[in-house]
């Protein structure tokens, strides 16, 4: 008979986009899966599940991390931002999302949530990137449609939109 095992379950409160989600998960639940399946926020996409593709990137206390390389049980005390949390309260697009729409920064859209979170944090650190810095900013994210030129353009456009909003 096959070995029967049972995971011990942990009660964890995940703070995602300003809302608290009480979830009961096994220790091995990846943060990416907890966000999608336990919190129901399917905007975060899961590509390679070993930290290479960047599709699952979320912000942990404002800094981009791979949610597939984190355990849900390990981040109970952190504030998580997913792609759902990047827009305005009235469902309007955030500046990076707006730039992607304007510059045709996505094709199939699978990688997009990871780019949006990464660039949002990147522009906070460097609000006026050069083209080269924009390229470096997205170097850890893969787009299998290979639409990188328009994504770089979107980074620069998002910087413009943000600068306009602040002036």
């Amino acid at each position: 008979m096959a070995e029967v095992f049972r995971d011990d379950l942990h009660d964890v409160t995940l703070h995602v986009n300003g809302a608290a989600h009480d979830v009961r998960v096994p220790a091995r639940r990846l943060l990416s899966d907890a966000i999608r399946h336990d919190c129901g926020l399917t905007g975060t996409h899961v590509g390679c599940e070993h930290g290479v593709c960047g599709a699952c990137t979320v912000l942990l206390d404002g800094r981009p991390v791979r949610s597939c390389l984190m355990l849900a049980v390990s981040v109970a005390d952190a504030e998580i931002t997913t792609v759902e949390g990047l827009g305005g309260d009235d469902d309007s697009l955030g500046p990076v999302q707006q730039a992607f729409a304007e510059c045709h920064g996505l094709q199939c859209g699978f990688c997009t949530p990871g780019f949006l979170t990464t660039i949002t944090a990147g522009l906070r650190e460097n609000p006026t990137p050069t083209r080269e810095e924009a390229t470096e900013m997205i170097a850890g994210n893969l787009c299998r449609c290979t639409g990188y030129q328009n994504i770089v353009r979107s980074v620069l456009r998002a910087a413009e939109i943000q600068a306009g909003e602040q002036s």
Partner: protein, 279 residues
């Protein structure tokens, strides 16, 4: 691509962490997890228990003195990389960290974790070995300091025992007449290198009084070679190295990379040492 089940504990003191680790010979420490999580997801590792040290804020420090840089076990790569003090006291650490994966991984991955993960393809073990650094380890028998040359036993293997936790890495400061340089070749930016070299050179006037290089992603463990009197540093290094072939690079190609990178990096380190010495 999901980890096998394991028990999880998140201690709030180092002694609790050591107890949790000592109770289970198959337990592993979780710090940044940027190397451990892929191993778990691919089921290349199946520890029965994870001891999460992220609840031990005392380990999250980067202390810089004239002696060198002390990095605590919870300091993320990004924090070490962002420190201007680290760059001033030991610029090789900063040079190497720029090549560790991508910024997103560096936000979570820890420098000490990378040092004791002992991946022969990773940058920091070679840097620690080249600089003659060390790791401070806490265990049931107290605290001890392990020199880098005693640390690396084989691929992904250190001389630490299962019930010990590496709490701090020490990178000695760069001397006033010494210089460093670093270069690696990877297929894509952020990938593991096919070969990489760090160099440390000391000069007296214009004369080189000592020169050595640390190699990673060449042999089965980080390897330091003394090249002080070498006329042909590339060949001299190869005589001391046992390169291995893998899917990323053939044996011949790795040898060629060592031949090309070694003199280039040594020259850059010599130039750096002269600039510092002439102040």
């Amino acid at each position: 691509m999901k980890p096998a089940p394991f028990a999880y504990v998140r201690p709030s003191s180092l002694s609790e962490a050591l107890t949790a680790l000592g109770e289970d010979p198959d337990a592993k420490v979780l710090a940044g997890g940027q190397s451990l999580l892929p191993l778990l997801s691919m089921r290349l590792a199946q520890p029965s228990r994870l001891v999460d040290i992220n609840g031990l804020p005392d380990l999250d420090h980067v202390d810089v003195t004239d002696e060198g840089v002390r990095v605590g076990a919870l300091a993320r790569h990004s924090a070490v990389l962002a420190s201007a003090e680290v760059e001033r006291v030991q610029p090789l650490v900063t040079l190497a960290l720029r090549h560790v994966a991508h910024a997103t991984i560096r936000n979570r991955g820890t420098t000490v974790g990378s040092v004791v993960h002992a991946d022969p393809a990773s940058e920091l073990p070679a840097v620690l070995a080249l600089l003659g650094g060390s790791v401070d380890v806490e265990g049931p028998r107290g605290r001890r300091t392990v020199a880098a040359e005693e640390l690396y036993v084989g691929p992904l293997e250190t001389s630490l025992s299962h019930d010990e936790i590496a709490v701090e890495a020490f990178f000695p400061a760069l001397g006033p007449r010494s210089g460093v340089a670093f270069e690696e070749l990877a297929r894509r930016h952020g990938d593991y290198a096919m070969a990489g070299v760090a160099a440390l050179v000391e000069v007296d006037g214009d004369d080189v009084v000592s020169a050595s290089a640390g190699f990673f992603s060449v042999c089965e463990r980080p390897t330091v070679v003394d090249l002080t009197c070498a006329e042909d540093p590339g060949e001299a290094a190869l005589a001391e190295l046992e390169p291995s072939a893998d899917i990323h690079a053939s044996l011949d190609y790795r040898r060629q990379l060592v031949r090309v990178l070694t003199p280039r990096v040594l020259a850059a380190a010599t130039e750096h040492a002269r600039r510092r010495a002439h102040g």
